[in-house]
């Protein structure tokens, strides 16, 4: 079925806010069997918004609006939908009560008069309560079409989509169950990976997507069948084939991120981690501590942006003098120093040339990453595309995945 998004907000057109919601929804619609054909961004203007909604209603089966549900006069999504459908709005008493309780819980009494605008409904809409904000959404089914209004703040939108909208859509969408799983790989090119999973494409009911992401190449397997149990069987068959084809190249599944994966493995094994990082300048530590509770396993480390700080962190001067600051030997010594200096079980050392220019004849994009875990240590060389932000970002992901593999080794 064809789907369409209408995102509302002058701030989106002025570039003050980036519309990340449409892109987030775009990755999730195919799993419901919905094909997103149009995204339209319009300002807080009832005329243009109504025009966009009329067109969407005319050509798409599922219409999702984003934003414009606030209490102020420039929040016109409800008004435009009512106008487009030719229905009258009136305040729904149960929504008014819910809103008043919402404000009362936050010690705001009485509720500001303007918020009553959020309690208005049209006859063909039912309300979806917003667990994270004051804006209830409308769920509309009419003329064989579905229209749902999502709130603009990404946290509210994601929560409402996952907990309220997906179950409703799954019930309504014509007799098809869809289940999916994403496998995240590192170390293979897109072409090589595609070659290895070629057979999986032939499994009936199976659809494969291959995506290049900052943390490696993702393979998303989508299984479709008339009933859920059958779709799950198709997916299991595909998973077995994918795992047998890609084996050790897979480092995680689903929504897992490299820092979360590292955290999970360190926690399981009761290990601590320290870093000595040079060209990433703190980005590796920042990524590790992005995970709440990282202090359970991460002790910290050194941002060793000069040779002096590498020495202070415990890297032997003869290694740097002998092999150079950017070398496999130094990366390895940085990883060991992270363990010994900071008393950690595991250590990561990163040294390289972030660019834009080459340094001392070493090409920008050259990075060496050393990893030490109890009982083993290793170092790997990388040649990343030579743009500075890319080099640093890829180096962080590579370091975390290298540690993941070292921890997973039997």
């Amino acid at each position: 079925m064809k789907a369409e998004i209408v995102a509302v907000g002058t701030e989106l057109l002025m570039g003050e806010t980036q519309d990340t919601n449409s892109s987030w929804l775009g990755t999730r619609l195919p799993e419901l069997g919905l094909e997103l054909e149009w995204v339209t961004i319009v300002g807080d203007d009832i005329g243009r918004l109504t025009e966009a909604l009329e067109r969407a209603w005319g050509r798409s089966g599922v219409i999702i609006t984003i934003g414009g549900l606030g209490p102020t006069l420039d929040d016109v999504t409800r008004d435009a939908i009512a106008k487009m459908l030719g229905e009258e709005m009136s305040v729904a008493p149960e929504l008014k009560t819910w809103l008043e309780e919402n404000f009362s819980r936050r010690n705001i009494r009485p509720m500001p008069q303007s918020n009553l605008r959020q309690a208005r409904m049209i006859p063909s809409a039912t309300a979806i309560l917003n667990a994270m904000g004051t804006a209830p959404s409308w769920w509309i089914e009419r003329d064989g079409k579905i229209l749902v209004t999502l709130p603009g703040p990404p946290r509210e939108l994601m929560n409402m989509w996952t907990t309220e909208v997906v179950p409703r859509l799954k019930e309504r969408l014509p007799g098809q169950a869809i289940v999916s799983r994403t496998f995240k790989t590192i170390g293979l090119s897109e072409a090589a990976l595609d070659e290895l999973v070629r057979d999986v494409y032939d499994i009936p009911g199976m659809d494969l997507g291959v995506y290049t992401k900052p943390d490696g190449i993702h393979v998303r397997a989508i299984a479709k069948a008339p009933v859920e149990a059958e779709a799950v069987r198709v997916l299991e068959r595909a998973e077995a084939a994918i795992r047998s084809a890609l084996g050790a190249y897979i480092w995680g599944t689903g929504e897992e991120s490299p820092p979360e994966k590292v955290g999970e493995l360190l926690r399981e094994r009761g290990y601590t981690l320290a870093v000595v990082e040079s060209c990433t300048g703190g980005m590796l530590g920042a990524a590790i501590t992005d995970v709440p509770g990282a202090s359970d396993y991460f002790v910290g480390g050194t941002i060793a942006y000069t040779t002096g700080l590498k020495l202070m962190a415990g890297v032997p001067s003869e290694v740097i003098d002998g092999s150079g600051a950017v070398s496999a030997e130094t990366a390895q010594a940085m990883a060991s120093a992270a363990c010994t200096t900071y008393g950690a079980d595991c250590g990561i050392g990163v040294t390289g040339v972030a660019g834009p220019g080459d340094v001392d004849g070493i090409k920008a994009g050259t990075v060496f990453i050393g990893v030490a875990v109890p009982g083993s240590a290793g170092v790997e060389p990388y040649a990343f595309p030579s743009r500075r932000p890319l080099v640093r970002g890829r180096a962080v992901t590579a370091a975390l995945l290298q540690l993941t593999r070292a921890l997973q080794r039997p």
Copy 2:
């Protein structure tokens, strides 16, 4: 004049790529006197793209397409425009030559046959050569309207927009010169700032925009006049009024970022910098080293995620024991330790509770930042909104701006 963007690419609808170009252009159009009313995202589908272009041509004065200019069959922007305007495409000999030379410079001979598609033109288009890629753009003026095709890769788009499209648009747009300047502030609420600059709104020909950004509140002054010299005079008058109203709250102008500002000041004064950061976990170092050439002034520091590492970095144990790991005294001691331990002229210390939960009775969002520069030292407490990513991001910006102010102090 009304402007409209049509962004092309199935990958944008599938959420594989985020359309950041429209948002970037959205911030730049007002300065040309263009009002962006619609952004439409469509897939690589000639039917739907033609439909979107016909609608845009019917309602907007300036139409900008993004993407779909590659050499493969699914790059259909040129085809759809030709269809919409009812014109025939043919290979332009001078473009063919330019493309062949482009490939020859990269040692690809002969040019792949498919790239000939990029040399096609319609009678009402002139070519804009792409300094950063193989896709030339079309500049079309017909029926009092302007249509320009921009390449999808952000670097190519930004370069072509700035160097080729803006000058052409400025020439064509009706007798109005527009100049603008952004002033970046920290330490004032949006409401307080608005109050202080109220008089500036009254300057004839002046338009003010106030935007809340991660690095503080930005004030953009846009001056319009029939001729450029007059617009510049209006802007100068506004700048004087803004500087007199906001004074020390302004930390920078234009495209300057806090890490760049810090780098510029350190370089000017010949100072070096080290950090001892706790709750930001490396993000501060990462931000500082985001600037190419940061190794000229940044020596590195410690990610002190445990008390043990704070002690190793040189923070006296009596300070931590006496005042607690998250305290003004410890932040100040971390800044001093950064200087003394690493032999740097300036030091920053950051300690706080990133959240989500409170720690030892200290509210999530509480952050203390100490800054030491030659001859002075100071510490400031912050209470950021208690969401973990926000706390860490704001703490990094606050630390850099605190250092900026300390360095700017006479």
